[in-house]
Amino acid sequence: MDPLSTLWETFFDWDSMREALPEMLTVGLPNTLTLAVSAALLGSVLGMLLAVAGISRTRWLRWPARVYTDVFRGLPAAATILLIGVGLAPLGMQVWGPNPYPLGVLALSLIAAAYLGEIFRAGILSVEAAQLEGARALGFSWGEAMRLVIIPQGVRRVLPAWVNQLIALIKDSSLVYFLGLLASQRELFRIGQDYAANTGNQSALLLAGLFYLLLTVPLTHAVNWLDRRLRQGRPAAPPEPEPDAEPVDVTPSGREPR
């Protein structure tokens, strides 16, 4: 066989792909989405707590948030997943049994939270101080003003960066294979890798790669669309000229001297 066709079949052996496809669709894809979506939810909640702690006026909240962020951003994802997934496994065994998913999701969430915390913090800090003053002047406490006025605006501004983090999560979810997965627990990458190992060619892994692209590329474009929309604002009518801009006498009618 000539080298070129060998190379071709290493990556594009349709039979290998067809063989792997059903399991990718029924097992791998749902498992990858389960991991990514649960880690995105938990990671966003934790990230928001970190962001608020990071801008707190109390040093006892700011400092731990800082240290946490440095640690979990600084460690390789694979190390964090192994440390938590394996290190806490005896504990997890007693709570939910041998399923590696809860700890896998936890590890992914903790990593994502470190990045998301910085993203949210930047968003919150970008909201003008006048907004906080306006909310406080109405009688809202600092916490209420943050929750109802500042955070909703700040989060909106960093939605593109948030989606980027989701993309990273989808890819990082492949790392839970370190924790040892039953056949039914395998996600896209693991299924691709198993088929690749059995068939001796990489086509199934390539197929897994295509699945990842199918998930991440639309998200990338969603980010761009979102970014444009947030920059330009929603398609809104420009301010109309004031209908009542005609001269108004500022002296109130019928006002008696007091």
């Binding site: 006048a130 003053e133 002047a137 009688g139 009542d244 002296t251």
Partner: protein
């Protein structure tokens, strides 16, 4: 314009405030009788806006006191206090992510604990009073500056304040939009709201204020009825200021 709460009298007593070495307020005094309007005039940097913020304790004074109906505001919970004192800012400070209606109902629902229907009805009524009933569903960015400022006034009034503070409410507006906002403020004064208005609009001060207070370098140098302050200013610095702005 109708308000259902009764206004209160306001007294600022010897208020001092320094930001580091910069002494912004050096013993400012101000008296506004119940239902009256005071205009605070003076050069930039004289402490007018800061004085306003010590009244609702957005800034805590270092020394001195603020009294509402003779009772010190320093003993109140600041958040509860601010619900009783409406404030309108130069840059409106509307919440851009909320519709005009939601800007007004937010505090009604979360602070006054009104139900949705009641809050919306009250907000719509208040919008109607400032002539913007048709803008309830617009976003602030879709409105002109004058309209935004009238929404901000409606938002403050919806909480039924006992005092209203205006911090250069028309300074950021295009000239042709100023009068509409001033008219709303004049109506409010005529309705018997106790008001403190920091302004550069001398015509407004002259025709609407019961008291005009001239501030310079952190103190109220001269205060009195507009006729006295504008026609017979005593202090040389007030005379110089008036000669520059009139």
């Amino acid at each position: 314009m109708t308000t259902t709460t009764t206004s209160v009298s306001l007294a600022v007593r010897d208020v001092h405030l320094a930001f580091g070495a910069h002494r912004v307020l050096r013993g400012a005094d101000l008296d506004v009788a119940r239902g009256r309007a005071a205009c605070v005039i003076g050069p930039s940097g004289s402490g007018k806006s800061t004085l306003l913020r010590t009244i609702n304790r957005l800034i805590e004074p270092d020394r001195g006191d603020v009294l509402l109906d003779g009772r010190s505001v320093l003993r109140d919970d600041p958040d509860a206090l601010r619900q009783r004192i409406g404030m309108v800012f130069q840059q409106f400070n509307l919440f851009p992510h909320l519709s005009v209606l939601r800007n007004i109902t937010l505090a009604l629902r979360k602070l006054k604990k009104l139900g949705e229907d009641e809050a919306v009805a009250l907000a719509r009524a208040q919008l109607d009073l400032v002539g913007l009933a048709g803008k309830a569903d617009a976003r602030p960015a879709q409105l002109s500056g004058g309209q935004q400022q009238r929404v901000a006034i409606a938002r403050a009034l919806a909480l039924r304040p006992q005092v209203m503070l205006f911090d250069e409410a028309t300074s950021a507006l295009d000239p042709e939009l100023v009068k509409g906002v001033l008219a709303v403020m004049a109506d409010l004064a005529a309705a018997g709201m106790t008001m403190v208005v920091v302004t550069h609009e001398m015509g407004f001060a002259r025709s609407v204020a019961d008291t005009v207070a001239f501030m310079d370098a952190g103190v109220v140098l001269e205060a009195g009825p507009p006729e006295a302050v504008f026609e017979a200013p005593e202090h040389p610095r007030l005379r110089r200021f008036l000669s520059q702005v009139l």
